[in-house]
Amino acid sequence: MSVDQATVRRIAHLARIAVTDAEVPHLQNELNAILAFVEQLDEVNVDGIEPMTSVTPMAMKKRQDEITDGALADKVTGNAPATEDHFFIVPKVVE
């Protein structure tokens, strides 16, 4: 599997990363090198093997339904470039 330049631009756009035309060939090579590396895994036959989700067999931890968090509006908005009355403020986005 390999990617063409259009795919590189598309992936960058989906990730909201600005990529100049000059950078595209270089990124294409890098991505294709990564894909070729990962492709080596195709040599292993995994028919009938469950995907491993945890190194040790364990069940997912669950919480009780209790309110233990929140009331942190100062902290939550603390790093935001712009806020007002504890709202985050962003450039207008309307559907």
Binding site: H13, D65, H86
Partner: protein, 489 residues
């Protein structure tokens, strides 16, 4: 999916009949105190960003931990939809950018949802019943809320909803009219409210629908569908379906083709319009969330939840018909809300079920509707209404007087039996007193007596006069019998 086509459901176009095909995705907010993956509150209407943990705000390094109550509620809902429960399901990341989605992805379930196929029986207003297939139900996070009207060039973002648990309930494309779509959502909402897994409050956005609409010639394969996003009332769902079906028929009949897209319904203008084209945004690049292990539980857990489900509307309706002899229509009206059904049962217990249903539906619901009150706010308790039904049953008061009594209990309160005594509302069954009134009326109206001999329907006039004379308290049957014998008709 090619069930026999009911011609009544077809839409007439300029070039012939069309069938509309509808499938729905309902987003139902799970009833829980805290969020799906954090301990922040789910309460509605808090101060901006007050119900937000650092997990919900997607601060680096924060990890999600699942709320077991949300899992329990999803399984219970699945059981209520007679659906297959998957003992193992997986959370995935659905990637997209939007300011009210701080993670840059929504944690959802894609390939392995917690609940699989099920079905919902839906009663139509004409008495017919349809079965709507459920494709799946999965758990996912809600996003935050953007306010666009606070500032000319900026949007305000509040993350209080961010991370609240939603159940997305996906139907099969089994609906064939706006009426069916509305009835389906109504029934689903009733089931959720019986289960207590979602409060169904559409005004607060706790239940909202994405409606997929396409049209086709009867018998043809499915047409291209458009998705109408976030319709937030049952009435609007009906309007959105009608409007969108008409739009699509118009395009096809004019020689055009339907483009698959996401649209918004504008109730003010009565039209659907295309949302900003998001073809590329539909590339969500789902993958299993590495922060979360698969969600697993055993069959014993599911069986225990199944054993403790409340009686659901279909079962309750069947029981009301069998146990109280109600008509399917009356039973359907009573079970639409659990509180109404409970009220009815409290009135009907140990009494005539049909009489109880009549009083609850006609008098009480009628009056509550008029005043815009919920059953919970009824000034007349089930015990009081039960006493009124008893007084009629015993023949202590007539049906007509009972309505006056109901009015007094509604406005002033009090024990109906005591009110009947103190206000002298008792029905007169003493034949002597009634006979006296009958004799007086006959003596005072010799001309009418002559007329009645020729025209027996005049009897009604005499009954009315006697009732007037006795203040409405005479037993109507006794009056009728006495008049017939005295007038010789």
């Amino acid at each position: 999916m090619n069930a026999p086509v009911d011609p009544k459901k077809l839409i007439k176009g300029a070039t012939g009949d069309w069938e509309v095909v509808i499938g729905m995705e309902i987003h139902a907010q799970v009833t829980s105190k805290s969020k799906l993956f954090s301990g922040a509150s789910t309460a509605f209407g808090g101060e901006p960003n007050a119900h937000v943990s650092l997990v919900d705000a997607a601060m680096p390094g924060m990890l999600p931990v699942i709320n077991e109550e949300c899992v329990r509620q999803a399984v219970r809902t699945g059981l209520g939809l007679k659906a297959e429960i998957n003992l193992r399901s997986v959370f995935d990341r659905k990637n997209y950018f939007y300011p009210d989605l701080p993670q840059g992805y929504q944690i959802s379930q894609y390939k392995s949802p917690i609940v699989g196929e099920g079905e919902v029986l839906v009663d139509m207003p004409d008495g017919s019943q349809i079965t709507v297939g459920i494709e799946r139900l999965h758990l996912e996070q809600d996003a935050g809320k953007s306010l666009h009207d606070q500032h000319p060039t900026m949007s305000f973002v509040d993350l209080n909803r961010s991370g609240v648990a939603l159940m997305e309930i996906v139907s099969k494309p089994d609906l064939r009219s706006a009426e069916e779509a509305k009835a389906y959502v109504t029934k689903l909402r009733t089931i959720l409210r019986y289960l207590g897994t979602c409060d169904g409050d559409m005004e607060k956005g706790n239940l909202r629908a994405d409606v997929n609409v396409s049209v086709r010639r009867p018998g043809d394969p499915f047409g291209t569908r458009c998705e109408i996003k976030n319709v937030n009332s049952i009435r609007f769902i009906g309007q959105a379906v009608e409007t969108e079906a008409r739009r699509q028929i118009g395009i096809i009949e004019d020689g055009g083709t339907i483009v698959q897209e996401t649209r918004l319904f504008d109730p003010g203008k009565g039209e659907t319009r295309s949302m900003r084209s998001k073809e590329e945004a539909h590339d969500y690049r789902y993958f299993p969330d590495p922060d979360l292990l698969p969600l697993e539980f055993d069959q014993a857990y599911v069986d225990d939840l199944a054993a403790h489900l409340p009686e659901l509307p279909d079962a309750k309706k069947a029981r009301f018909i069998a146990e109280y002899g109600l008509s399917p229509y009356d039973a359907g009206v009573l079970v639409a809300e659990r509180e109404q059904a409970d009220y009815f049962e409290a009135v009907a217990k140990g009494r005539d079920g049909k009489a109880a249903a009549n009083w609850v539906i006609n008098e009480l619901f009628g009056r509550l509707n008029k005043e815009g009150l919920d059953i919970g706010a009824s000034p007349v308790s089930a015990a009081q209404l039960g006493a009124i039904v008893d007084l009629i049953g015993e023949g202590t008061i007539s049906g007509k007087i009972a309505k006056d009594l109901f009015e007094i209990v509604w406005t002033e309160g009090g024990d109906p039996r005591a009110l009947v005594e103190t206000r002298g509302m008792k029905q007169v069954t003493d034949t002597g007193a009634i006979e006296k009134a009958v004799d007086e009326v006959i003596a005072a109206n010799p001309d009418k007596v002559q007329q009645a001999l020729a025209k027996p329907t005049m009897l009604g006039w005499f009954v009315g006069q006697v009732m007037k004379q006795t203040g409405g308290k005479a037993n109507p049957q006794a009056v009728n019998d006495l008049l017939k014998s005295k007038l010789g008709i």
